[in-house]
């Protein structure tokens, strides 16, 4: 296994590799710089504090971005004590509302202006307040405070009105929807609750509705609107991992949050956790952090599955081609897909409400034997029973890349190879290759098992 470690590193978690990328900005700074920075900071703070103290006020820092949607949409910058530091219009209606307005706003005064301009009425009686902030505690605090301010305004001015508060989901899909339809991330987080619930409830259709219509659709379909997404998705992953340790006594190896979903009457972060023995999906309540539902399936570790596949296919480990990374590496030389079940993507399968994990969970192992056979072995992940063994053809010891390299070396082309092969066909143990380099075209026939050149010539 000489040099295997260097190659094995290629397959470790890409996130780890990315986080260690050279030149990446990190918080670490040299000690001298730290001291200097600390000194400068203290000096600046002292000066500022003295200045502000003289003026009787110290400016608040922006702690969160808050989206206020009625139909006019606004983006607010808010301090951690709930003070609105700035208000920006996010659409034309909002610009109308803010025209000639004051410098400082409260939630109440902003809603007052919206109402005065006719955007908040008995027909359009809903406002959505969405807090985007990485800090869980600050998010909860702001949702509570701003929500209370909005409710107080409505109680006084529009008693039948609705104030919906939520935390913006930190999910790539939300950003995508917001960008695509030109709506706020708050509105995007909200409409996700309804997508796919009924025929016609597409992102396209829902993005064109105002908040009042979306609320009504939620009510008609039994989707709760008073939900607060207080939990971040990384926290949900930690909760799901803990659940695996505590209930399945299995050590989690990875956790993936699929995204936000409506399930069991609650907003949840649906999270897949893979341990050494089990694969499980947890629905973690996005507000309380409680695990609402759990599904799991026993799935033996990869070595056990591999051994079972080899013996089940009637081979021994010795019959399987020796894995020499240096001389014979191939991307899919041997891999275990855990699990491809019922021809479906695992994620779709596990996410279905009716997914029966007591049913078969199938693992496919692809084996390349020393005599060149390529086998698909399907086995039951739980019992290790063989379900099917299919010989799907032969595998060759060279691939297209190898073929081009062999040919270019044979043709004496040392640098700049290859252009894309014009064609490369592997059949009956022969690789028939045509490629171009520096304007010259070459045709080669190569033994696909041994890599030996059978014939080669420059054809143009």
């Amino acid at each position: 296994m000489k040099n295997s470690l260097v190659f094995a590193l290629n397959d470790v978690d890409p996130a780890m590799i990315r986080s260690a990328e050279p030149g990446k900005k990190r918080l670490r700074v040299p000690r001298e710089v730290k001291f200097a920075a600390a000194f400068v900071l203290v000096a600046v703070i002292s000066l500022l504090a003295a200045g502000f103290a003289a003026r009787g006020a110290i400016a608040d820092a922006v702690a969160a971005r808050v989206y206020l949607d009625v139909n006019p949409s606004f983006t607010l910058e808010v301090s951690d004590n709930g003070r609105i530091l700035s208000v920006a219009a996010s659409n034309e209606d909002a610009k109308n509302v803010l025209a000639g307005g004051e410098d400082e706003y409260t939630v109440g005064s902003l809603l007052g202006k919206i109402m005065k301009n006719g955007y908040l009425s008995e027909e359009r009686d809903t406002m959505l307040l969405s807090v985007e902030c990485e800090d869980d505690a600050v998010s909860r605090e702001l949702i509570g405070k701003l929500g209370d301010d909005a409710s107080a305004f409505l109680t006084e001015n529009l008693p039948e009105g609705h104030a919906i508060t939520q935390r913006v989901i930190s999910d790539a899909r939300v950003g995508e929807i917001a960008g695509k339809y030109g709506i706020s991330k708050g509105a995007a987080s909200f409409l996700i609750r309804l997508v796919g619930l009924k025929e016609g409830y597409t992102e396209d259709a829902l993005a064109s509705y105002d908040v009042t219509t979306l609320r009504r659709l939620c009510e008609e379909n039994g989707v709760s609107t008073d939900r607060r997404i207080a939990l971040s998705s990384p926290d949900a992953a930690i909760i799901a991992e803990t659940a695996m340790r505590e209930t399945l006594y299995d050590e989690p190896e990875s956790a993936t949050v699929y995204g936000y979903a409506e399930h069991g009457g609650a907003g949840v972060w649906r999270t897949e956790v893979r341990g050494s023995k089990y694969v499980a999906v947890y629905d973690v309540d996005a507000d309380t952090g409680e695990v609402i539902s759990e599904k799991h399936a026993l799935c033996h570790d990869r070595i056990t599955l591999l051994d079972a596949a080899i013996s089940g296919a009637g081979y021994t480990a010795d019959d399987i081609a020796h894995y020499d990374v240096i001389k014979d590496e191939k991307w899919n030389w041997l891999y275990v897909t855990i699990p491809s079940s019922h021809g479906e993507d695992l994620r779709e399968f596990l996410s279905r409400d009716d997914a029966d994990l007591d049913a078969l969970l199938v693992c496919r192992v692809n084996l390349h034997t020393k005599d060149g056979a390529f086998l698909n072995v399907d086995l039951d992940c739980s019992t290790l029973g063989i379900l099917s063994v299919k010989k799907s053809g032969y595998t060759y010891s060279i691939d297209t890349l190898d073929a081009v390299m062999i040919a270019s070396e044979d043709a004496g082309l040392s640098v700049g190879v290859p252009d894309f092969p014009d064609s490369c066909e592997m059949a009956d143990g022969i690789c028939d290759l045509t490629f171009t380099c520096d304007g010259d075209t070459y045709h080669y026939v190569i033994d696909a098992f041994t890599g030996g050149v059978i014939s080669g010539e420059k054809i143009g």
Partner: protein, 183 residues
């Protein structure tokens, strides 16, 4: 060009995908290839081979993180190229030093099952390291950075980097022993 557009073009066999990969990841791949091969000409050849290997492997592969995938393909291609060069005894480089250092940790031999177990064990080992030690280890043995370069990047002294690597290698040796590998 977005990664998903590139992947969809690759699936449709549209060669513009390669232009997209070149535009986005050329400098990243060049950085990896140069670190391993220590030679501009070879690095350039490695880049061409990388694009071709990505073209040939997507589909069937469908990476979720294209940058990491292209980086891994490039690293693997460069190592393969380095191996060929070594066979012809064409010089030495920083990657070879890394090979030798890690060679000392494992014995010879091993089969496919060992390879898979090794990947798993390595993954566990990396998770067990502190963040700082992990970054140092990966920069040394994935990116093949020199001690001096790592020290500069992480604002550490060269001695601290060396000590960290030494401790990590010892830890790896013990970890692999515990996992049943022959040391």
């Amino acid at each position: 060009m977005e990664d998903r557009e590139i992947i969809s073009m690759l699936n449709e066999r549209d060669e513009r995908a390669i232009v997209g990969i070149q535009e986005k990841y050329r400098s990243y791949c060049r950085f990896i290839a140069k670190s391993i091969l220590d030679n501009d000409e070879d690095a350039e050849e490695c880049l061409n081979n990388t694009y071709l290997a990505v073209w040939n492997s997507i589909p069937p592969n469908a990476p979720r993180d294209l940058r990491s995938y292209v980086g891994a393909v490039c690293r693997k291609t460069a190592l393969k190229q380095l191996e060929r060069r070594l066979a012809k005894k064409r010089g030495e480089g920083r990657a070879i030093i890394a090979f030798e250092e890690l060679d000392g940790v494992l014995g010879e031999g091993g089969d496919a099952a060992d390879e898979i177990a090794l990947r798993d064990a390595l993954q566990k080992f990396l998770r067990s390291l502190s963040k700082r030690s992990r970054i140092v280890f990966i920069q040394k043995y994935w990116y093949f950075r020199t001690i001096g370069e790592i020290a500069k990047d992480l604002a550490m002294s060269e001695e601290s980097v060396k000590a960290s690597l030494f401790r990590s290698r010892e830890k790896l040796k013990n970890h692999l022993k515990k996992e049943g590998f022959e040391i």
